[in-house]
Amino acid sequence: MYAQMVKTDTKRVRSLDEMEPQERAFQERIDAGQKIEPKEWMPEDYRKTLIRQISQHAHSEIVGQLPEGNWISRAPTLERKAILLAKVQDEAGHGLYLYCAAETLGISRDQMYEQLHSGKAKYSSIFNYPTLSWADIGAIGWLVDGAAIMNQVPLQRCSYGPYARAMVRICKEESFHQRQGFDIMTVLAKGTPEQKAMAQDALDRWWWPSLMMFGPSDDASVHSAQSMAWKIKQNSNDELRQKFVDQTVPQAKYLGLTVPDPALKWNEEKGGHDFGEPDWNEFFAVIAGEGPCNRERLEARRKAWNDGAWFRDGLTAHAEKQAARRQASRIAAE
């Protein structure tokens, strides 16, 4: 998922009886499945948690442009180039909807950028891995977008209206992204021996980081419990991970590729796969900035922002001049 380990300020999830009347009314509306809209009262912690979650999600879309953008200029056919361009453009669009959704909670896009550039705000760990071959573009669509969809489909029912509505549009596009990724993998897996090896190598490198996208088990997390009570999170990390594995393993089999997990096997009793534990030390290291591409990704975002300052200032200055000219001509006309 694109938002990982989002913290709340909660120490313990309180029952309705423990709440003040205003908060209790708020919680009852959520329990009844009603949407909360921007101008309505909400607990400060609900607002802050949503800002963290939505901005982390938005930053993930924006940083996520980089590993895939890395292959636009090397896409192997005109059609693949057009599809990849469209996909990366969609990610930028998702970032835009999400920043707008977060802005309804009283934070500006510039403030969110500042938090990203300073390292205060996080983005998904997955985008700190490099895209080394064309098959990585297939693997990202298939696995990374596939994992994102697992999380984003339930978020369409999220309690916060603007976030839920942004997610409806995003989900439509994400399923196209996942299909294009799977299509790339299908062509490679059925291609030359070198192409098949490329596809297997990509699966080997992206499998575990994709499972890590869901975050560590959060069954005991008070933050997750609070987010679930607020319906800004619907399923536990383990539930989503299980669902992802169960969906993806047959697809790998169809492709004739091997999932790089010796512990993977079907468990008839639970009606799902048993699978190995991702290397959580690696996950925490990536979150802490020690992944293979953390520095490049942040540096690229900071550079884009800093190098573009003159451009943004120029547009602002022009808008001010135009306003002043309009004002002057109004005065002259009077």
Binding site: A86, T316, H318
Partner: protein
């Protein structure tokens, strides 16, 4: 242009002309796509990717026509990914490096202001296939021109820095604009047979648009008027080789593979 005549399906002149059109779109689309994820504002990232996407789509149409008119059984991907520098027919303007975002926008504007009148004229081409592609592309390019002209004006008449950057971009790119209006034997043949307009006939509309836009942008038209040329006969700047090395990498490294 003359009354529509039925053009032969195979025509060396049409094939060569379609290559020129397609290569301009491909190389400019490639250059624009280099900004993806790195633009100065999110809205610009989306808009520029959209422009690149339109241009790649137009590339597919023009190169498709080039293949058909060539009649040798090649595909648009064969043309895009397996020709060397000397086989490319694009203007030198579009292969120039992006520079800062201002230079990228100025390059786009100078191209758009030529591209749109050209496409409009091509809508009356004696070859129906050319006319159809031109009609579809002109709708997209009308938007490209509106956007690029608007940004040139706003940045030219923005801050002292944005003005200076746009003037520097204009001065740098200006020598690459003359090539758009030069005619060779093929252009004369195309014009005589009603397939495409004479290049020089596009100059008044371009000059008018550029003059007006640069005036609004408070930018000064460069005085030097020498033209760098050679793109249409396959003599390029050093930059194109690097573009192709990158763009063609997979097709070259894995010959014959499908993707």
């Amino acid at each position: 242009m003359g009354a529509p005549a039925s053009s032969p399906a195979v025509s060396a002149a049409v094939a060569e002309f379609a290559l020129r059109m397609g290569d301009n779109c491909l190389i400019l689309g490639h250059r624009n796509s280099e900004w993806c994820g790195h633009s100065p504002a999110l809205e610009e990232d989306i808009a520029l990717a959209n422009t690149a996407l339109d241009l790649i789509g137009q590339t597919q149409l023009w190169l498709g026509l080039a293949c058909e008119a060539e009649g040798k059984g090649r595909t648009p991907d064969n043309l895009a990914f397996l020709r060397d520098v000397s086989g490319y027919r694009n203007l030198l303007l579009v292969e120039q490096p992006n520079g800062d975002f201002g230079r990228t926008l100025m390059r786009q504007y100078l191209f758009d202001a030529w591209h749109l009148p050209l496409l409009k004229a091509l809508m009356g081409s004696a070859d129906r296939r050319i006319a159809e592609i031109a009609e579809k592309a002109s709708k997209e390019v009308a938007y490209h021109l509106e956007r690029s002209a608007d940004l040139v004006v706003r940045l030219g008449d923005g801050t002292a820095e944005s003005h200076a950057r746009m003037q520097a971009a204009l001065d740098f790119l200006w020598p690459y604009t003359g090539e758009m209006f030069l005619a060779d034997a093929l252009d004369e043949e195309l014009a005589a047979t009603g397939l495409a307009p004479e290049p020089a006939s596009l100059k008044p509309a371009w000059q008018e648009h550029v003059g007006r836009t640069l005036a609004d942008a408070t930018l000064k038209v460069p005085e030097k008027s020498f033209a760098q040329k050679g793109g249409r006969r396959g003599v390029h700047s050093e930059h194109l080789g690097y573009i192709l090395a990158e763009m063609q990498f997979l097709q070259r490294a894995y010959p014959g593979a499908s993707w």
